[in-house]
């Protein structure tokens, strides 16, 4: 049983990563790639303050998106798991949450652009209500727009695992807590959240890796005004600088692995599943 899975993993995961690591030490000119062992790509990467700024930006997007997707995702899952009594309604409402996901990522993202634009629906509505006099420029092509799109795109990835773990919480534990005199807030904090941790952690891993690896959302929603690591890589690829793109990809991969490693130290997913 294990052999086919191993073969697939080696062929489609391990080999490509080895390739990327190898190429990251190569050199490139405008039209050719030269096999070599040279640390120049890494030297440039670590020597440029753009790298640090861009990595900071990437973490910033990941963190803010995480905060919002977690609070929205947790609330939605909590409502579905504990406030909806009938299983039929739970399934119906859960499916309702997934409806936006029947269209493609890109379409859901781009549809924000006319909505948030200078003469878009959001601005004209606010003006007609008299809330603002001049259109708000920061609604579109800004960090606000980027994070809005991320939250919109990825909240479901929080809802699903959290809802899943919540459904498996033994209801008698909650009753026991109530019998022992715990308030609603205490039950939430001392019973539900600790038992939902694995779900939260899985959702967090989804959201953080998706946001850190993204490039297209940042490009479209910031109007190319902001950059994250994904955009650095995509720019390099577009300009045929594969070695330098590989070096950036290796650093990004390591960063994401470290972040996930840290998170797994807090929660042992395997034990709690």
């Amino acid at each position: 049983m294990a052999l086919p899975i191993m073969a697939v993993l080696v062929f489609f995961l391990v080999l490509p990563i080895i390739m990327i690591v190898t190429v990251s030490f190569w050199q490139a000119t405008e039209f050719s790639i030269i096999p070599a062992f040279d640390l120049e790509n890494y030297e440039f990467l670590f020597g440029s303050n753009v790298t640090y700024r861009v990595f900071f930006n990437t973490f910033k997007y990941a963190f803010i998106t995480w905060v919002f997707t977690l609070s929205i995702g947790f609330t939605v899952a909590y409502f579905l798991a504990f406030h909806i009594r009938s299983l039929t309604w739970q399934i119906a409402l859960f499916l309702l949450c997934t409806i936006p996901f029947w269209t493609s990522n890109i379409i859901r993202m781009i549809s924000w652009i006319p909505f948030l634009g200078r003469n878009g629906i959001a601005n004209s509505t606010l003006i007609s209500w008299g809330v603002i006099e001049e259109p708000l420029d920061w609604l579109l092509f800004s960090d606000f727009a980027v994070i809005l799109a991320f939250v919109h795109l990825y909240t479901l990835f929080m809802v699903v695992p959290i809802f899943n773990t919540m459904m498996r919480i033994d209801k008698s534990l909650i009753e026991a807590a109530r019998d022992a005199g715990a308030s609603g807030a205490q039950i939430l904090w001392n019973v539900i959240i600790p038992l939902t941790k694995p779900g939260i952690m899985i959702g967090t891993i989804f959201v953080v890796t998706l946001v850190m690896g993204d490039f297209i959302t940042v490009r479209f929603m910031s109007g190319s005004r902001s950059a994250n690591v994904g955009r650095l890589i995509s720019n390099d690829i577009a300009l045929l600088a594969y070695p330098s793109a590989s070096a950036t990809a290796v650093v990004l991969l390591l960063t994401v692995l470290i972040v996930i490693g840290l998170m797994l130290r807090f929660v042992d997913i395997r034990k709690e599943l």
Partner: protein, 419 residues
């Protein structure tokens, strides 16, 4: 595959004998229908209408793939087996030619070679014009011989690319939202348009637009905009980074459609733009002008190159295609979109007098001008932005270019976008 029999060999021999005595077209008419040529290039000239017309006029199949300029460069440089004909820009040629993926073309097989405009042969539009800065097409248009790997500065008889399409680019503006005349490139950074300007995020072209702006502001005069030193790149980027941080730019665009949307929605009132994008904005009923500026135009040119692997019947078909390309039908089609053809005089045969007058001679239209797809672009009495061919192509200040310090420039460009 047919079995090789004595009978077939004899038949083949007879056909060969007939072919050699009666002239090549005999064989070619038999086999040409089986030929398929794979062409790729930017969306600009990779049009299905052209492929359909080739099938109709020449009988063989042309498969078109349209990509953006970065992907085009990438494919031409790294996947030589994936195409027969590369439809690329001259600055891309400068990058791709040294890889040996393209083969030199014999100009004696090009029927209309003598009629190709001077820009692509000796660099001069008229005998007394000066050659603009940057990667001027004629500097990378010729190689030393059939196996040439370098470029030569004379008409050697072996071309790297056969020129097909070119134009002079400038800034696009929304006259209705600006409400005053715009005459200089420096207006792009005018604080009056804070949060309403845009520039394209394609480094090799964007840097040239930046250079035009910097010169126009009087900040610096480049000895050669097309080949900047590191200090010059730093200086240019510094000026634009400051402007970016002050909120001058609403967005940066990378694809044609993005530029159209930014302009049509009013997010942006002044930006770098390409000619058909202006047409697209206008056809939505939104006023948009391709504003001629005092400092001149930033120009670009494209051409067709043959894959090094192309030989035999396929190569003959490719030459046939090139000759057909320069024969006027495509030229007329492209000129009606606002581009120029490498052999304008043959295109004239495929355009009405009104169209020729409006697009090429800069005369007021005598009737409605429509695009090849039928949208009205101008009414009777309208004059083309920038005027005639000579006025526009004669005012070119620089060509799209690849610099010696290209890699440094690209890294600085990344910094600018991340700033």
């Amino acid at each position: 595959m047919t079995k090789l029999s004595r009978r077939n060999v004899l038949k083949g021999g007879a056909a060969f004998a007939a072919g050699s005595t009666l002239g090549a077209p005999m064989i070619w008419a038999q086999n040409i229908k089986d030929v398929t040529l794979r062409q790729f290039g930017t969306g600009v000239s990779n049009l299905n209408d052209v492929a359909n017309k080739v099938k109709e006029d020449l009988g063989f199949t042309l498969e078109m793939t349209a990509l953006d300029s970065d992907s085009v460069t990438q494919r031409a440089a790294t996947q030589p087996g994936s195409f027969d004909i590369a439809d690329i820009e001259y600055w891309i040629c400068k990058k791709v030619w040294p890889t040996g993926n393209l083969q030199a073309m014999d100009t004696s097989k090009i029927k209309n070679y003598d009629k190709i405009v001077g820009i692509f042969r000796n660099g001069k539009l008229t005998p007394d014009s000066t050659i603009a800065q940057g990667t001027a097409p004629h500097t990378v248009g010729f190689t030393e011989g059939p196996d040439g790997k370098g470029f030569v500065d004379n008409e050697s008889g072996w071309m790297t690319l056969i020129p097909t399409i070119y134009n002079a680019d400038t800034l696009g503006i929304r006259p209705d939202l600006i409400g005053r005349p715009i005459n200089n490139w420096s207006e792009l950074l005018n604080p009056e348009f804070k949060g309403k300007a845009s520039i394209l995020d394609i480094s090799s072209i964007g840097i040239m637009d930046m250079a035009m702006v910097v010169e126009s502001m009087g900040e610096y005069t480049y000895p050669d905009k097309g080949n900047m030193t590191r200090e010059e790149i730093d200086l240019t980027m510094k000026i634009f980074t400051e402007a970016k941080q002050n909120g001058q730019f609403r967005a940066f665009w990378k694809s044609f459609d993005e530029s159209v949307n930014l302009m049509a929605s009013g997010e942006v009132v002044i930006q770098s733009m390409w000619s058909p994008a202006i047409t697209a904005v206008k056809s939505k009923g939104v006023p948009c002008v391709y504003q001629p500026l005092e400092e001149g135009y930033r120009s670009w040119g494209g051409g067709i190159g043959l894959s090094a692997a192309l030989s035999g019947l396929e190569r003959d078909a490719a030459y046939e295609y090139i000759n057909w390309y320069l024969d006027g039908w495509v030229g007329g089609y492209l000129m009606r979109q606002g581009y120029y053809s490498a052999v304008p005089e043959t295109s004239k045969n495929y355009m009405s007098e009104n169209e020729w007058g409006y697009w090429f001679e800069g005369k007021p239209a005598t009737d409605i001008i429509t695009s090849p797809t039928g949208d009205a672009l101008a009414q009777a009495g309208d004059v083309r932005d920038g005027g005639s061919f000579e006025e526009r192509m004669g005012a070119v200040a620089c060509w799209n270019a690849v610099m010696d310090e290209n890699q440094y420039m690209v890294r600085k460009w990344n910094e600018f976008i991340a700033a």
